[in-house]
Amino acid sequence: MRRRNLIAAVFLLAIGIGYAVLTAHLPTRDIGSTTQPSFFPWVVAVLFLVLSAALLIQGLLPATSNAVPKAPDVAPTKYLWGGVAFVVYLAALPTLGFLAANVPFFLALMYLYGERRPLWLLGGSIGISLALFYLFRGVFLILLPSGILSGVIS
């Protein structure tokens, strides 16, 4: 945990400095006694830097009983594939539209969560994607873009 705290503190300090630099470049207004738009961000920046520095100092101090949480017993590739599935899905979403993108995404997630039966994979991904799509469009009146299927979907 100490090593994590150190890494995080350095990273947070960098973010804090970046935030402070951006705050310094915020526009100023000349309206009587009212505080500037940068006033609150400055307060936040100072607090953030002080707390990050405190985390850094805590990380440098002799080790305490802060135990490192036990790593979950899951293959790292599973996380990787989950992340890849999400990123590809989000990238394809505006072009493919909700229905065409949801079906393969759902299928991929079902597979990652341990489903291996082909019929369940197909039935679940197509059935639930269709149900949610029409539920939101028909009942909740949220017009989800249909993308490449816009000619097919009413």
Binding site: P27, A54, N66, L143
Partner: protein, 502 residues
């Protein structure tokens, strides 16, 4: 009689409101029951569906989910020894041993009954205390409100984290995010980088979905694998309605749990788990049957269950009267009200008194639905425990994406949601709590507004925060809560270091 009370009762008693409360209760029992799903996540997923509904109906649905979610959490604690919600952890201590003795129905019936009594006691507290507190809060000026919001933020940071520094850092990250978009006083753009989508700021709900739901999806890669047999066993339940002898046995634990829960619910940050364990512990000390605790004592189920359900009404008190959330769920409810153009706080009782009392009466109905649906649908509901993760989790993922998009019909919000999901995972890796960040997202804007209005009124003189007794008390309490948290953290480290050396 106060016409707002009559109006509120009428609003909550409308057929549409009652149906919404009932659906919310049903969803709450299901969501609470599923280990790995929190009430917060359930509400976040349902919230986008309520955008098209009237505020009264929308809040009725969410309250149903909140109240019944607490009870649902005890179902899996009793049947599987896996608490569906953190608040149900204490219930499993005696509920599961009772279920193992073949009396699962008895344990569940006691949990539902105690939940109802706890909920109704907290309804009484909410009904009588909230309007009075709102009346007092109407006297607050900007400096008082700043100090109050600041106190609300600090006490939750202190409670939520094992490390005070990490809790405060989490809150400050939330405040940083709040500064994105238009300045609330002058309308100047801050940190928008020319991006039109950022002018209105980061939507509270987008951040919420990412912070809560994405880490939960990742968690469920791990949880519950290989639990199918245990889940299937859970479906065998006999008599559910409690016997008279059991009802007599739970009088004392409920009399302890309900007021303790209602009181702790009012205190921001304390929450259901603390109330449940305190009630359990105190009941064990005063009970004649203390030797049975841990082996399936009915008192050990009733005390924590009445307490955690009583917390719900208590938590609504600061939320409705001061605009200060008592726990993550009430923070989300504040967001839900804001989406409908209603700002919780003392003015809610003045400007929308009927609505405010409507919320209170919907809370009462939610408790009725909780006990009715709980008893009538229990055998069917527990079958949800057999739903495979492979169907549930992808459905949640799709609901998160659609929910983020539906906020402003914008793909940008979907990407922001995903970004917050990564932030939530990073914070978990660092053992940093997300609850302070969430509360900072809710309270950040009023904090800045009251700070700057106060300073503008005093020509920049910061002593204005020490001129009002209210403000001084709130600032004093904030300082005390931070100081106490540092002290408690230091003490617990010394204790555990000592234990390690031995």
């Amino acid at each position: 009689m106060n016409p707002d009370i009559v109006d509120g009762f009428a609003q909550a008693s409308m057929m549409s409101s009652l149906i919404a409360t009932g659906i919310g209760s049903l969803l709450g029992l299901v969501v609470g029951m599923i280990p790995g799903m929190t009430i917060s996540t359930g509400i976040i997923i349902v919230l986008p569906l309520t955008f098209v509904l009237e505020p009264t109906i929308s809040i009725a649905l969410l309250l149903g989910l909140y109240v019944s979610g607490m009870t649902g959490g005890s179902f899996s604690a009793i049947l599987l020894n896996i608490p569906g919600t953190p608040s149900a952890s204490a219930t499993g201590l005696d509920g599961h041993p009772l279920a193992q003795r073949g009396e699962a129905g008895r344990a569940l019936g006691l949990a539902i009954t105690a939940s109802f009594i706890g909920g109704m006691v907290s309804f009484a507290g909410l009904f009588f205390i909230a309007p009075l507190l709102a009346e007092i809060a109407l006297r607050f000026q900007s400096p008082d409100l700043f100090s109050l919001v600041f106190f609300g933020l600090t006490i939750i940071c202190s409670f939520a984290a094992k490390s005070v520094i990490k809790g405060l850092l989490s809150a400050v990250i939330g405040l940083m995010i709040v500064t994105i978009g238009q300045d609330p006083m002058m309308g100047s753009q801050r940190f928008t980088f020319g991006q039109v989508n950022l002018i209105a700021g980061i939507h509270f709900l987008t951040a919420l979905i990412g912070l809560f739901a994405i880490p939960q999806l990742v968690d469920n890669f791990v949880e519950l694998i290989g639990d199918k047999e245990t889940r299937y066993e859970a479906a065998r339940i006999k008599r559910v309605l409690p016997r008279w002898a059991d009802l007599k046995r739970i009088r004392l634990p409920v009399a302890i749990g309900a007021p303790v829960g209602a009181f702790l619910g009012i205190l921001p940050g304390a929450g259901g788990p603390i109330a449940a364990f305190i009630s359990y512990d105190y009941t064990k000390r005063v009970s004649k049957n203390r030797d049975e605790f841990g082996k399936g004592a009915p008192e050990g189920i009733a005390a924590p269950e009445s307490a955690n359900n009583a917390v719900t009404g208590g938590a609504l008190v600061p939320m409705m009267t001061l605009g200060i959330p008592g726990d993550p769920v009430t923070a989300i409810l504040i967001g839900a009200l804001l989406i409908h153009g209603l700002a919780p706080g003392p003015l809610l009782f003045v400007e929308n008194g009927g609505f405010a009392f409507g919320v209170i009466f919907s809370f009462m109905y939610a408790n009725f639905f909780n006990i009715v649906i709980g008893f009538l649908g229990l055998r069917l509901l527990v079958k949800v425990l057999a739903t495979p993760n492979a169907l549930l989790m992808p459905t949640i993922a799709l609901l998160c994406v659609i929910g983020s998009y539906a906020l402003r019909n914008n793909f940008f919000d979907v990407y922001v949601m995903f970004g917050f999901g990564l932030l939530g995972l990073a914070m978990r890796w660092l053992d940093m709590p997300v609850v302070p960040l969430l509360l900072a997202l809710v309270l950040g804007r009023p904090l800045e507004e009251h700070l700057r209005v106060s300073l503008a009124a005093s020509q920049g003189d910061p002593t204005i925060f020490f001129t009002s007794p209210f403000s001084v008390v709130f600032l004093g309490l904030a300082a005390l809560s931070i100081f106490w948290s540092f002290y408690a953290e230091h003490r617990s480290r010394r204790l555990s270091d000592g234990a390690t050396r031995q």
